[in-house]
């Protein structure tokens, strides 16, 4: 661990490593976190917090709840770090998935408290892009993703965004879009496939 800390300090001292591009990767930081290194955990938080919080807030909407869920996610990352197997996928993907599932669990358990009027809820889910804070260096990448989303058919895009950003199940999406359930499942698949192809399979 000492050697790791020295290495981390050396990396921090290098010019141009503070932008998260040349610095330690999430993989490196998670491996150190798995050995109990709280500094590495802090650095991992710095790299992933905006992604986790933004995604969670997009789904649960309420900032206070988004904070709670974000905390749950990072405490989960800390606890699970010794068990992470890098052969099974990227750290960013793992953390994003955890964040999304917990956000969806939260919004579903909250919304189960009242009879859901999905039609009313759907109107409030559209969120202007200008509310989404963006790092300058990621803006072009984000524009590319939005471009790819824009290339989908309206039904593909709506099926995907209602599910992913609002936490609706495919059955609820079908109800909202007044489409057969089978159609929605197909649109989700085709839409995600096209998004993946458009982004060149990169993650």
């Amino acid at each position: 661990m000492e050697a790791d800390q020295i290495q981390a300090a050396a990396l921090r001292a290098l010019p141009g490593t503070g932008d998260g591009v040349c610095g330690p990767t999430p993989e490196t930081l998670l491996a150190r976190t798995g050995r109990g290194d709280t500094d590495a955990f802090g650095a991992l938080y710095d790299q992933l917090a905006a992604r986790v919080y933004g995604l969670v807030r997009r789904v649960v909407r309420d900032p206070a709840q988004a904070e709670e869920v974000t905390q749950e996610v990072f405490v989960g990352v800390w606890q699970e770090a010794p068990r992470f197997d890098p052969a099974r996928g990227s750290v960013t993907g793992w953390v994003s998935t955890m964040a999304h599932r917990r956000a969806v669990d939260r919004v579903r358990s909250v919304e189960a408290q009242r009879a859901r009027d999905v039609r009313v809820a759907a109107r409030s889910t559209a969120r202007p892009h200008d509310q989404v804070a963006e790092q300058v260096e990621t803006r072009l990448e984000h524009e590319r993703i939005r471009g790819c989303l824009g290339d989908l058919t309206a039904t593909q895009r709506e099926s995907i965004t209602l599910a992913y950003y609002s936490g609706y199940t495919y059955r609820e999406v079908a109800e909202l879009l007044e489409l057969p359930v089978g159609t929605v499942k197909t649109r989700m698949r085709d839409g995600l496939s096209r998004l993946s192809d458009c982004m060149g399979g990169r993650s």
Binding site: R57, Q71, E72, A81, G89, G93, E134, Y170, M188
Partner: protein, 292 residues
């Protein structure tokens, strides 16, 4: 049924499935290598959706989280003998709630032991030295750690009475024991037709464990509810043939008891049948405040 599960892979990648459908798909992924690859590919696409939602969190959150992890033990690394790893290297289903199932973070974990599990001694570390978090966050963290620890234990040990829960608590070590002390054992009750419902709760969190549930007819599921002055709130589902289930419920609020009912597949917004089992939540007296 297979064709049905097959068609749900994209919905699974979007987490757009209820628990019953998720179980269906995940079981199918074990059998279908193509589908598992498809899930990985489509999940990578969802990462782009996550990326464009990025938003800076409030500045105080970092210090709060570092303080909490300073008091939270890490799970032990899985060693190959820990649990049966899926032979094909396909994802297993252990992490349904934390996303680890999708990426298969199980079974084949590194066999290296974790030196110096952080415990109380870590409180003086970088996290602990920063400004103290609000008491609310710290307590939530301790209670969450307790519940996660208990939840992990409940997942691997059959628990249907208090004595066994006490055994489970005895298994957790060091700081985990501290955190587990925040759990209040509420009670255990039989389920009509067979089986047992057990619950422990602390603060706003509860761990509910059902064992030996009688199988239900096709198209029926078990649904867990929080019952309080304001009525019933759904706390989770499990498939009608699942036999056992564990729930970590994070928004107990003013609920007075948990109850299990039989509902149509997909669950109900409100209970439509009488409970087959119910356990009263025990009032909590800030048990987590005892950590010094």
């Amino acid at each position: 049924m297979t064709a049905n599960a097959h068609s749900l892979v994209a919905a699974r990648a979007l987490d757009a499935v209820d628990q019953a459908d998720a179980a269906l798909v995940d079981a199918h992924l074990e059998q279908c290598e193509f589908c598992a690859d498809e899930l990985v590919r489509l999940s990578a696409a969802t990462e782009h959706l996550a990326a464009i939602a990025a938003e800076q969190p409030p500045p105080g959150l970092r210090a709060d989280i570092l303080a909490v992890i300073g008091m939270t033990p890490q799970f032990r690394p899985r060693v190959p003998t820990d649990r049966a790893a899926p032979p094909t290297g396909r994802p297993d289903q252990t992490g349904q709630h934390d996303g680890s199932a999708r990426l298969g973070q199980a079974g084949l974990g590194r066999a290296r032991p974790t030196p110096g599990l952080p415990g109380r001694g870590r409180q003086g570390g970088p996290g602990g030295r920063r400004r103290r978090p609000g008491a609310r966050h710290a307590l939530v963290g301790v209670a969450a750690a307790a519940v996660l620890a208990a939840g992990a234990a409940l997942g691997t040990v059959t628990i249907n009475q208090r004595a066994e829960l006490a055994d489970t608590r005895a298994q957790v070590t060091d700081a985990q024991a501290l955190a587990a002390s925040a759990l209040t054992v509420a009670d255990s009750a039989p389920v009509a037709g067979g089986g047992q419902l057990t619950m422990a709760n602390a603060g706003n969190l509860a761990v509910v464990s059902a064992r030996d549930l009688p199988p239900l007819d096709a198209g029926k599921v078990y649904q867990l509810w929080l019952l309080g002055p304001a009525g019933a709130r759904s706390a989770g589902l499990t498939a009608g043939n699942s036999r056992s289930a564990d729930w970590v419920v994070g928004n107990v609020g003013d609920a007075e008891k948990v109850a299990l009912t039989v509902e149509p597949a997909g669950g109900s917004a409100q209970p439509t049948t009488d409970p087959v089992g119910a356990v009263a939540l025990k009032a909590h007296q800030s048990a987590g405040r005892k950590q010094g």
